[in-house]
């Protein structure tokens, strides 16, 4: 298994009040994303566990774009990857932040 840890400073915090959210399933071509509101407002940390080697740069690019787009400050994001394509990863991250913004 490969573990990748990424850390960002964001413009501000993710909106909404949900303390946590989970989206996706660990299956072939899919992934599960756990989001927890557990960090300071302008910090975002992303931990990825994946069985697929050699895609570190792609993960960094996808996550960096996501962070730039959504400013998910305060969120600790943990990913269990089942070999998903980058666009599926981006989709799940967006689904996750939507849930965090919508939740009570």
């Amino acid at each position: 298994m490969v573990t990748i840890t990424l850390r960002y400073t964001t413009r501000g915090p993710a909106s909404g009040h949900a303390p946590s959210a989970i989206v996706g399933v660990v299956a072939s071509g899919n992934l599960e994303v756990l989001l927890e509101r557990a960090l300071p407002d302008t910090v975002c940390a992303v931990e990825i566990a994946t069985p697929v080697r050699g895609y570190d740069e792609v993960w960094q690019a996808v996550v960096a774009d996501f962070v730039e787009r959504t400013s998910p400050g305060g969120l600790h994001i943990s990913i269990n990857d089942g070999g998903a394509r980058p666009d599926t990863v981006a989709l799940r991250l967006m689904q996750g932040i939507r849930m965090m913004e919508a939740g009570r």
Partner: protein, 556 residues
Amino acid sequence: MTLRSNVPSRRAWDTGQHSREQRLAAASRYARGKLVAHHDATALLEAVLRPGDRVCLEGDNQKQADFLARSLAQADPAVVRDLHIVQSGIVLAEHLDLFEAGIARKLDFSYSGPQGGPLARALAERKIELGAIHTYLELFSRYFVDLTPHVALTVARCADRDGNLYMGPNTEDSPVVIEATAFKQGIVIAQVNELVDKVPRVDVPGDRVDFVVVAPEAFYVEPLFTRDPAQVTETQILTAMLAIRGIYEEYGVRRLNHGIGFNTAAIELLLPTYAERRGLKGRIATHFALNPHPTLIPAIETGWVQQIHSFGSEVGMDAYMRARPDIYFTGRDGSMASNRLYCQAAGLYATDLFIGSTLQIDLQGNSSTVTRGRIAGFGGAPNMGSDPHGRRHASDPWLKAGREAADGQAGLARGRKLVVQIVETFGDKLVPTFVEQLDSVQLAETLRLDLPPVMIYGDDVTHIVTEEGIANLLLCRTADEREQAIRGVAGYTPVGRGRDRRAVEDLRARGVIRRPEDLGIDPLDAHKSLLAARSIKELMHWSGNLYDPPRKFRNW
């Protein structure tokens, strides 16, 4: 004084007829009238074939003369050898066995999907002398110029004693193959499922048919055009939404051809839902050159479709088509009649859009389905996916695309056919669709081909649709812009990550690249609930249970 030709006056002008009579004579001991018993099939072939003959063993996209293929594979290679195979589809293992056994030596074909791997190996091992890989239209055309078959081995549902053949919906290539063969004194042999007193309709007249063999088992038909809605992914739904909103609606595309694939299946399943909500019924997707895709059933049932002409048929669709003669081309007997040549011409000249998927796209927009170790051939896509310069009649989408291509340039205006490649940026096993160089370049070197096999050339492509958005290549002025437009929708592939961000932003500002949000589409809306049918069974219910799904697709 009159000039006389130097040609000796004794030249024979009927050698073809002569050869034909010899072959018929050699075969006569096996035939009663035109009928030959199935246990005599191999002997018949040995009597009728000559070394070096050009043979078309159908070999269609779907229906297969499988019994004749097996019979030919059992022929004595001392008697039947060095055949030149000129068939459109290399589908059965037996088709390659012929080369293994030395019965066949040279090959001209069009499509080899199911045998793509073994064919690549056989070519690499020089077991096959390759003439060329053609498109369907090219190969059929060459039947009338320089690849006329000496012998055609065809397949039909039934025949009468006069040799009239009935093929039902799977008429496909046969009328063309047989006309070329019969009218150049060739021999035509048909395997049939049964002998009848009177065929339901005459697809091939008996006076073009020399021998009929009733095969021990019904012939095999490959179900190629069935896509299970349950396997359509959210990404494919997103690209379908982009295509409908950003191209079909934008250009007002009513006449079109869909290549087979999950991306186009998603479009078909989104017509009654997403496209309906956009108020597009009657304005898009009304006339199709298309095989009978089961996934189009919901759109047909909800009144989207006016007419469909088909290249071939599809397993399980017979009864449904019989009940929808306003939609499909049907004979007096009520069953559908397909014709690959006519439909290829229709797709080329009578439609305004082709859309299909592919495995690799390079920086110029050239695409290919060749990958390491597999040669699938071309089939019909290069025809469908090309801009026919011979077209003259105008339509709104054609004129609009032409204006976009010409924008600002001097010269006489012409229209452009919309040729759309719709892909996910990564394919199976995280293999990037977008590449710097197509695998087929390497293949051409290995196999010493004249040209790398390209499915669709970049200068024919007008749009590329991925989950990242739509690139409109018509609006690109330079090769550089084209490259950045492609990189700009290539997602996180190395090609996509290699984009010039500034250039891509400029292209987006100009509308050359449009992202989902530019078209009012939220990727999170690309949900499976948007599909008009979510399973094969739902398709069956949409059809009023007339659609009879093939066994391998039934999971209930």
